[in-house]
């Protein structure tokens, strides 16, 4: 029960054992565990990132939908506006056309009236000449009194 030369053997054994366990167990195992830790951390970070990206995508999608809705509403409004414009244009066209037709009709009527007046005048001259001839029993020379007659007719 004392310290003996066994100590030297134990010292060497211990040194070899420390070296061996360090080389074959501690170093590879701690490295492996560190790698695994890192991988787990990376995986968790990736999952986190995925969730974040999904959120972003959802936001983007919502944004897109909102924009699409806005565009649709805009297009609808434009279409309605355009429709109203078309209707207005049609109304204006119709009105112009109507006015034009009325004007044309009026002009025609006037023309007809003038023509009727002319006809009437000619007939009045004829009738007047015939009536005057009967009254004075004398033939009135249409050529001789033409000027006078024209004056009379002009006054009618």
């Amino acid at each position: 029960m004392s310290i003996t030369a066994t100590l030297i053997g134990q010292l060497i054994t211990f040194a070899i054992l420390v070296w061996f366990i360090g080389k074959y167990l501690w170093v590879p195992m701690t490295r492996m565990m560190d790698d695994r830790k890192k991988r787990i951390a990376d995986g968790l970070a990736a999952a986190e990132r995925g969730i974040h990206e999904q959120e972003l995508a959802e936001q983007k999608a919502a944004q897109h939908i909102k924009e699409a809705k806005e565009q649709a509403a805009e297009i609808l409004a434009q279409a309605q506006k355009r429709a109203a414009e078309i209707i207005d244009e049609a109304k204006i066209d119709a009105k112009t056309e109507g006015e034009r037709l009325i004007t044309a009709a009026n002009a025609e009527i006037e023309q007809e009236v003038n023509r009727a007046k002319e006809t009437l005048r000619a007939q009045v001259v004829d009738i007047t000449v015939a009536a005057a001839g009967k009254i004075i029993k004398k033939e009135i020379d249409a050529k001789a009194h033409g000027e006078l007659l024209q004056d009379v007719v002009g006054q009618i």
Binding site: T6, L7, G9, I16, I21, G22, T30
Partner: protein, 272 residues
């Protein structure tokens, strides 16, 4: 079970039985130059077991699907790593393997104590080996081999980190400042030398006492048939308690190694 020698060889008294059990199987001519074959054999056997496990595990381990054995080793390694992280300042590539080796080797050597005290010596007698002590840590040579290794590392890292002059300053000006240099030298020397001595003696004392109590318990059944019952009862209780002791001693040795080397790694300027 454990008292076969006492029963078979009735000429052995209790004292002789214990003396027989405390006798190393050694070669050499006394004094320092003695080799305890049994101590070396069992410590080498256990070192071999450790090396085999380490080599096999180091080769077959996978990160994704750890097997049962790998999980156990990982738990131990992680436990040791945590202790180092908590106590040890900075990093040192040696401290991890050192602490792990101390923990596992000391634990295994201590665990030899849990075998029935007479089992292996009796088997040895059958093949003509008369003396055998199966617990290497009940041999001062083993515990002091570990303690001296740690002590050498303490000095080495003290000089490496603090520098020779810084290490000398620690002896001169610690703990009382520059006006009590002689006292400081004595105090610090005692402090430093107490480290390996306490390390080695604590482990030795615990394991030696545990072994001795196992022997005393074994003697109970040898004394009379009536003693068989208390032998079984006490043996069971003491063995269960001893599971705690062997783990605790291995843990304490590892922890103090980390603490001492941690102190060696601290700069004096940081300390104050």
């Amino acid at each position: 079970m454990s008292s076969s020698i006492a029963n078979e060889a009735n000429d052995l008294t209790a004292v002789e039985y214990i003396q027989h059990h405390l006798h190393n199987n050694s070669i050499g001519d006394g004094g320092f130059w003695v080799i305890n074959l049994d101590t070396l054999f069992y410590s080498w056997l256990l070192a071999g077991v450790l090396m085999y496990i380490a080599w096999k595990m180091g080769k077959s381990m996978t990160a994704d699907t750890p097997s049962g054995g790998q999980n156990v080793l990982e738990a131990i390694v992680e436990f040791v790593q945590q202790q180092i992280k908590d106590i040890f300042p900075g990093s040192n590539p040696l401290i991890g393997p050192l602490a792990l080796t101390i923990f596992m080797w000391v634990f295994l050597m201590n665990a030899m104590d849990l075998l029935p005290v007479d089992l292996l010596p009796s088997l040895g007698q059958l093949v003509g080996i008369h003396y055998m002590r199966v617990v290497p840590t009940t041999d001062l040579s083993t515990t002091f081999a570990l303690a001296i290794s740690v002590f050498a590392l303490i000095i080495f890292y003290n000089i490496k980190i603090k520098g020779p002059i810084g290490y000398l300053k620690m002896f001169l000006f610690h703990p009382f400042g520059k006006y009590l240099i002689p006292v400081n030298i004595i105090m610090t020397s005692i402090e430093e030398i107490a480290k390996p001595v306490s390390l080695g003696l604590r482990l030795f004392g615990n394991m030696f006492a545990g072994e001795l109590i196992f022997m005393l318990i074994a003697l109970l059944g040898g004394a009379s048939l009536l003693g068989l019952l208390p032998q079984i009862a006490l043996g069971t209780v003491w063995a269960i308690f001893h599971i705690l002791v062997i783990s605790l001693q291995a843990f304490i040795f590892m922890l103090l190694t980390i603490v001492y080397l941690g102190l060696a790694h601290q700069d004096m300027e940081e300390e104050h």
